[in-house]
Each structure stands twice: as C-alpha cells, then as structure tokens.
Subunit: 248 residues, 2 copies
DNA sequence: TCAAAAGTGTTTCGGATACACCCATGA
DNA sequence: TCATGGGTGTATCCGAAACACTTTTGA
C-alpha cells in the first residue's frame, strides 16, 4: 500500500480512486492546440518517470464524455469556454503498448475518445496533473516520442483540423481578440503547412464577411503598420455552424 | 431465472453473457444505408416487445471497436467487405431514456460508438438478432420512433454522409457494379435531398475520372436506353483516400 | 535611402451554372 | 405521334489564381 502510494505520489492508490469514480475501460484524450510566435503548439504532459503523453482523463459515472473533456481541459489550462471537438474514438485492444500499470483498474484495456481543442496561447497557464512533472507547449513540428498511440492521435487531430479549414473558418479561439491580417495568414499557413498568397488570402477572408476592420493599426513592429481586425462573433458562429464551401 | 429466459428468448440471461464476454458500458451502433428503387434506406431492428432500434452490439475484450462494427454488420446483413466508417461517439449519461433492462450489466449506462455503413441493397439478407423479431429496411424519409437517442444517431449519420459528398465520391458501395448515369444521379439527389441538373452532374462525375463507360446500355425501361458505367476501382479508391475539392 | 512588409488593385483562367438541341422508346 | 427520358453541346458567369504597383517603416 505504502509502496504504491509513493509510486505516483497520490493520497490513495490510483486503481481504488478510479474504480469507484470512473467508467472502466474508457478514457478521454485532448489534443490542445495553441498558436505562438508563428508556430502551432500542442500541450503535452510529462510523467514523473519520463515519457510524454497527451493530457487525458476518465469519465465520471454521471458525466457526459463532452463534460469530461471540458473538465480535463479546465484542469490543465485553467480555461473553459473554448473550442472543443470530438474527432475520433480509438479502440484497438493493442493501442496501449508498453503500459506500465500492472495492477487493478487502470491496467486494463482502455478505449479512448479523442478531442481537439483550440485555445489562446497567452491565456493558458499549463498545470501538470498528479502523475506528471511537467505540462508544456511543444511545437507541432518537433513532438517527442509519446506513449501508446498518442502520436497517431495527435496526427489525426491535426489532419482533422486541416480538413476543417476547407469548410470552416479558424482563428477565433487561437488568436487574441484583436489581430492583424498577416497574423491570421500565418495561422492558416502553419496549420496547412504551406505558403499562401497574402493578397488572395486577404480577399478570401474578407469575402467571408466574418471580419471587422478596426481603425487601429498594430504599431511597434518594423515596416508598415498593419490594420487590426476582430471577428464578428455572430457571423463567425454562423459560418462555423453551417459551413462554407458546400459544393452541391 | 426462467422468467428472464423467456422474457427475451435467450439460452442464458443477457447480463450473464455480457458480463463475461464484453467491455462494460460500451456499445457500437450501426447505421446501415442501402439504396433501392430511388430511395435511401436504413436497416432497423424491431425488439420482440415492439420498439425499433439500430442494429448494435458490444465490444469483446480482445476485439477492436472497428472489428466489433464489422462483426455486427456481418451478423445482420451477411456482408463483410463493405464501406464502414466511424462518425461519432455518443456519451451523454441520459442518452438511454426509458431503458427497459433493470438488472445487471446491461442496465448500466452505455457510451456508444456510431458507425455508418454503405451496402448494396440487393446483396443484403436482413437477419434479426436474438432480441428481435424483425430486421427490415426503412425509407430514410419515414423512420419510425426509435429507442433512446437512436433517431439522433441516424440523423447525424445521414448528415455526415451528406457532408462527405463535398469531398468524396459515393456509389461504389451502394450501387450494383454496373449502373447508369441516371441511377447515380438519383443516388446523389436522394442523399442530398435536392434535385440536380442531370447534364452538369454528368459532366462533373466524368471529370472526376473515376468512371468507365461501357459499350452496353440498360435496356428494358421505357424511353431511350441509357449507357452503363462501372467504377474504376483504383481511381475511385484514390479519390476516396485523398479527397476531392481541397480548397487550399 | 532602401529593403521589407503591408495596402490595394487588375488580368486571366477554369470550373460551375444555365441553358438548347437532338435522339430513342413505348404508350 | 408524342410525351418522356437520355445523350451531347454551348454561352455565361463567378471566384480563384497570378501578378503589379504604391505606401510605410526602421535600420
């Protein structure tokens, strides 16, 4: 008992806690995206014994899986009211290769529901959980080895996000409330992994009719000061809901 | 005991069977689409005590959720090797309003993974399961009341299928191997729920370069005999994988 | 004063749309 | 013979892509 206690630094051993509180065999993992200094980031946790993983958790008996994801996000970032979307459920019995837990509830097979979140980098204050020593942003380009199938989960989340750009705007959740057109451009370029023509991009964005051009410019940078924009939340939400680019 | 036996006509009571074979709290439901006589159909089961539901099942301990879905499909339709796609996981604790099972394993809360399948109507020989008295095709337009949240599950499946037409072809799994352009047109119109210009539709389909025009015509109908086509499987699969209509 | 970034155009092109016309078939 | 459905072709339009020119800024 005392052994297992100190092993993970918990008040009670994990399998006891879990068994009573959570649905067995089911977990939720969150791929939390942020945007900072021109690159796309993912929030990762480091276990006390070394390896990296996605922030995740379990589903309480009376809780919806969406609520679980919201709770997990809140715990790691301090944020609620962010963009959160379920994208896939991973249910291979061998997905947790090399699992360290050998006893009890948590040692069993888990099916995990994947969510991705879009959050404003500057508003996040990453907090490790009980099992973890660190909670840090990693550049999407240079993610370390992750446990189990978490690397595939990140890859699929990113791919889903990329595809969603075909019919949904992005930016409201990733950028500060005021931003410049070049910043929005960088965001799109980063997610898509390709360069875009800034002039055509601007025309296309403006044609969506979800942006409001402000009478301010972003000063301080070198070169000509770019205008600031903000999203028209109502129109943004409408575009988000009904989707753009319906081809039929 | 004898009571519960006769209640569902099982050799052993359901909660005993399930407890040992399956993951608790987790199920799989399949929305199986077929196309017949110009309308889109869904395969539904009728319980012996009346209400209708989706064909579904549970996940064996050593089985992936994809495999579970394949197995369920095989059991109800006799088909394997069909198009099957996971589209959403439903995890509201109140999703099973009015649940009849009051005891044991099956009476608990279930999170369900939704799959939709596209199958060739004529190849399917619907088979009810142990709990059911009937397994029948229903027109999507006139689905009866379904248990729990199954109606929402069907609705979301249909919506997902609709959206997928924006960037993926459809037809290989729903039509016989040889088909006419008007038949393909009807399929699209039915899924989308709107009329399309047959001439523009034909040009667009041909431009996808996934069809092979045969030297035969479909005779027997009234009016001018339309040409038969078949899909170029390789090109179809490629289009399926990479998607059409990437807008960036 | 000049390179680099930003604002604001114009031209061009291809795919989607909206049609018109002719052909085949059975009632 | 004619209504209906099917095969094929053309004019048009609109949005995307390509690209030019000017303005502002700090180094």
């Amino acid at each position: 008992m005392a052994k297992r206690k100190s092993e993970f630094g918990l008040k009670r051993p994990f399998h006891e806690l879990g068994e009573s509180m959570f649905l067995p065999h089911l977990s939720v993992d969150c791929v939390i995206f942020g945007f900072h200094e021109g690159s796309l980031k993912v929030l990762l946790l480091q276990w006390k014994d070394g390896p990296w993983c996605l922030p995740g958790g379990f589903v309480k008996h009376e809780e919806s899986i969406d609520r679980s994801a919201i709770r997990i996000l809140k715990e790691r970032t301090g944020l609620d009211a962010i963009f959160l979307k379920q994208f896939h459920t991973f249910g291979d019995p061998d997905r947790e290769k090399g699992k360290r837990f050998k006893k009890g509830w948590i040692s069993k097979r888990f099916v995990t529901v994947g969510y991705y979140a879009l959050v404003e980098y500057s508003k996040v204050f990453p907090q490790p959980d009980q099992l973890s020593s660190a909670c840090v942003w990693w550049d999407v380009q240079s993610i370390p080895d992750l446990i189990y199938d978490h690397k595939q989960i990140v890859a699929l989340a990113l791919n889903t996000l990329r595809l969603s750009l075909n019919d949904h705007p992005v930016g409201y959740n990733l950028l500060p409330s005021k931003f410049t057109m070049p910043e929005l451009l960088r965001l799109y370029e980063t997610i898509l992994g390709q360069e875009l023509d800034r002039r055509n991009f601007q025309k296309r964005m403006l044609s969506l009719d979800i942006l409001i051009k402000l009478n301010e410019r972003k000063t301080g940078g070198a070169h000509k000061a770019p205008f600031l924009y903000r999203f028209d939340k109502k129109k943004y939400d409408r575009a988000m809901k009904q989707g753009l680019n319906q081809s039929w």
